[in-house]
Symmetry: C2
Subunit: 114 residues, 2 copies
DNA sequence: TTGACATATTCCATTATGGGAATATAATAT
DNA sequence: ATATTATATTCCCATAATGGAATATGTCAA
């Protein structure tokens, strides 16, 4: 078997750093492909390809406007990602990891404290 | 160029659904490889391989305990993912998308309302 | 109709994944 | 030393993604 397809879900689509950059740059706007090309400084086919992946997982949607295609970010599709990661929030500062860190810290603090 | 490596960052590591399942199952515990094999019902090499990827991006850490290896989730590594997705939270319900949806809804509501 | 512009798609090479099976390494017990 | 247990690594295969270049498609203007 090969790697999960980039178009399988939002998790896979946003794994690519360039696609995250694209999302960040586009969110809240309505942008033409060439406008995006301008903004990102990438080649047009590269922009189109990345947009295509994002479109397939619903992270962007596309509208025809004459000979232009207007893209816009559908941010709601990123909610599952946020929710998935957020479920571990309680462990961010409270984990066994932090116990270790804490113990180390106590030691060095003891040394520096007096 | 090929796809961004799975071990490049947390985003890429968690793109694989099985690795997300692994994280969900392991968080808050200290688990041996074979305990994980039990829990997940996967073959041992598969568990070891996925753990290896997660370890390389710091999502899990490993401790030698005799002939066992104890793994545990370092949830803090998922924080960047949550933060990245959360930055779009303001657009989840307020986007242009929703404007469209809203207009459609008004129309059908008008029809059903009277 | 022809040309210019906007965008998508195809072809290619490189790279690497995930699964399975087999095997290697490490540690313990006898 | 040897067998056993625990875990990691290697080899192979099928799949596919990325970037680049070239090209196809679609739309408007003259």
């Amino acid at each position: 078997m090969a790697r999960t397809s980039t178009t399988f879900d939002a998790f896979n689509a946003i794994a690519e750093p360039k696609r995250r950059a694209l999302i960040e740059a586009m969110v809240g706007k309505e942008l033409t492909v060439n406008q995006t090309v301008e903004i990102m400084g990438w080649k047009q086919p590269m922009v189109s390809k990345h947009l295509s992946v994002l479109k397939q997982v619903g992270i962007v949607s596309e509208r025809k406007e004459g000979r232009y295609r207007v893209y816009r970010v559908n941010a709601a599709r990123l909610k599952p990602v946020q929710e998935w990661a957020a479920q571990f929030e309680q462990y961010w500062s409270n984990s066994l990891d932090c116990l270790e860190e804490y113990l180390k810290e106590i030691q060095s603090n003891g040394t520096n404290d007096g």
